[in-house]
Symmetry: C2
Subunit: 363 residues, 2 copies
């Protein structure tokens, strides 16, 4: 998978996003597309919130109606499944909407472990109505084992890691890319999950590749883009202490050979999401684990933190206090990149990168 490989995501398309029962808090793909996607979102499908507006739930994005079913969606080019349930299955209650989209000739894109392109009914309907099915979580052929070469690229590699799933790793990564570019730094984005791939239009779905190739799938993307940028921001996945997903995290950590880590956490998260009998691990212990585990493959350091403070709502003061407490725990700068901007941690994350960039340009 290279940046040229395309998941039918040229910018400027009009899309509807399916997020039944989960918008916005359990629909991170939907929110990611609203906040960072290159497309115009014409509607969100959530039967539990039908009749409301996107801005009733998410303030800082373009508004759109929330509707009950696809029949109510205005004219559009594609339906995107914007939910990523644990296990990645397809909920059959979504079938009528996918069917209706295809019957209208709209493309359908999803990032599930269940592949639309292997669903007989959808394949037939897509053919009949000249629509495209796009499974962004289906890895391309030819991914193999890592060679331990990601550190050979020119770019500095920055990886987001987490205390758990859904702590804001993708968001933090994209905010860092944007903030770095605003400073004139040539920053690349390495998408590793379905939402990142939908936004960027390319990428390897690391959690779906063969386990033996986990690190290799990350390394491949870094080798292909790492000499074209001064810094690469790699979207992390899961957590190194997650009962189910730690393998993915570990493969990304070693495959990326990251130079710097940004640890993402959500305020007051005290148990692993969906695995409530497992408490989260304290921050200093996690820092030691990430750094200690990475070191034999490539020395790295947690240089900054990103704290998701959405549960503090409008209370910016409480959010600021939480960020400061988190920075103390980390013994490193921290921010909430959505609330306060990624710029607050950019100095330390980019330390030395801009200068290196100028030096290269001056050669």
């Amino acid at each position: 998978m290279t940046p040229d490989a395309n998941h039918a995501t040229e910018g400027g398309r009009r899309i509807a996003v399916l997020a039944h029962g989960k918008f916005p808090d359990r629909a991170k793909t939907a929110v990611g597309l609203l906040r960072y996607g290159p497309h115009e979102v014409v509607a969100v499908l959530d039967r539990d919130n039908a009749g409301s507006r996107v801005n009733d739930h998410v303030a800082d994005v373009d508004d759109a109606p929330v509707v009950e079913r696809f029949d109510e969606v205005p004219e559009c080019d594609a339906l995107v499944v914007g939910i990523a349930p644990i296990g990645g299955g397809f909920d059959d209650s979504w079938r009528p909407d996918v069917r209706a989209a295809l019957e209208r000739g709209c493309d359908v894109q999803a990032g599930l472990h269940y592949f639309l392109t292997e669903d007989e009914e959808f394949v037939e309907l897509a053919e009949e109505h000249d629509a495209t099915l796009d499974d962004v979580r289906k890895p391309h052929d030819g991914i193999g084992v890592a060679e331990g070469k990601a550190a050979d690229v020119d770019a500095e590699v920055v990886l987001t890691v987490g205390t758990d799933c859904s702590t804001g790793k993708m968001t933090t990564t994209l905010e860092l890319v944007e903030a770095a570019r605003e400073r004139g730094v040539d920053a690349g984005f390495i998408p590793t999950g379905q939402t990142g791939i939908m936004i960027a239009g390319w990428g390897n779905p690391i959690d779906r590749v063969v386990s033996d190739f986990t690190a290799g799938a990350v390394e491949e993307m870094i080798l292909e883009t790492g000499n074209d940028h001064d810094v690469l921001f790699v979207e992390g996945q899961g957590a190194i202490v997650h009962p189910a997903y730690s393998a993915v995290t570990c493969g990304i950590l070693h495959g990326s050979m990251a130079d710097r880590l940004v640890l993402c956490h959500e305020v007051d998260r005290d148990a692993i999401h969906g695995y409530e009998s497992f408490p989260t691990t304290d921050v200093p212990t996690l820092v030691d684990l990430y750094e200690g585990l990475a070191a034999p493959v490539h020395e790295t350091e947690v240089v900054a933190g990103a704290l998701n403070t959405r549960t503090h709502g409008d209370d910016a003061e409480a959010a600021r206090d939480a960020v400061e407490a988190y920075a103390d725990e980390l013994d490193a700068p921290a921010t909430d990149p959505v609330r306060f901007g990624a710029d607050e941690i950019l100095d330390v994350v980019l330390d030395g990168v801009a200068a290196e960039s100028n030096a290269v340009e001056g050669e």
Copy 2:
């Protein structure tokens, strides 16, 4: 995959084992089958050693001729590919032997990432000659994400972990199973790789499952067998600091929720096999990493060590010294399970298990 699911490995079959150019030191599947398999090995195919005998290379197994090509193999039921190259590809120089085996009506079994059952020529030949193709590295359908429940089973779970690949994790696991059974302990074996699966006739090839399901594939096997035994010995894979394969190791560590770890090492190994620019990590650091990484999911401890001393050849004294030095580094009992037997570490590995077994029986 359950112990009932069968990879066509009922005992007593006559098999030929393909190990071209790699027998015995780089043919761990071949040697594993010779040492622990339920089958009669009638020949080993290795064109570089043709004309020699198995016992010229491996002393403590049943003898058989080493031949150049399948045409020279005596009557048999199956050809087994007994090499596991980095990357798991199929070397086309093996094609004539696989072809010849199928033409003789022999089944062919392999544990490669390349699937025989997706090779058009082999599929046609197998059909024509009523032979079976068996890819033991092809995971069964229905494997999913871990639920963090492996620790709920009655059995104590013992996992072998390593300082690198090919340090003797499978061998140590099988020697421990045998030694435990000799003491009358009800011990189960959890196969996680191609050789283990070929020997046991069941198992999940963990390095081949979808990355997200790595821990789940191990957990599945433990939940299915863990209440039928007093102790489960889980075959480990890779190493937690391996540049390519650490994801697999991490998934097994967390998915198995092991109660005890046995750290496997090869004497004088100072770089990662096949990744020579990466030095191995010192033993105390590795112990801390394995225990520290496991703890947030399930507390565990490295209770013993297994040292592969084959490079010391006939020098038993040097081997004994090396084992003692390794035990000092570990601060735990150690053995070379092949040279000195697994019994030397069994007390600490089984500590409390036999008593628990009796207690249960007495209820």
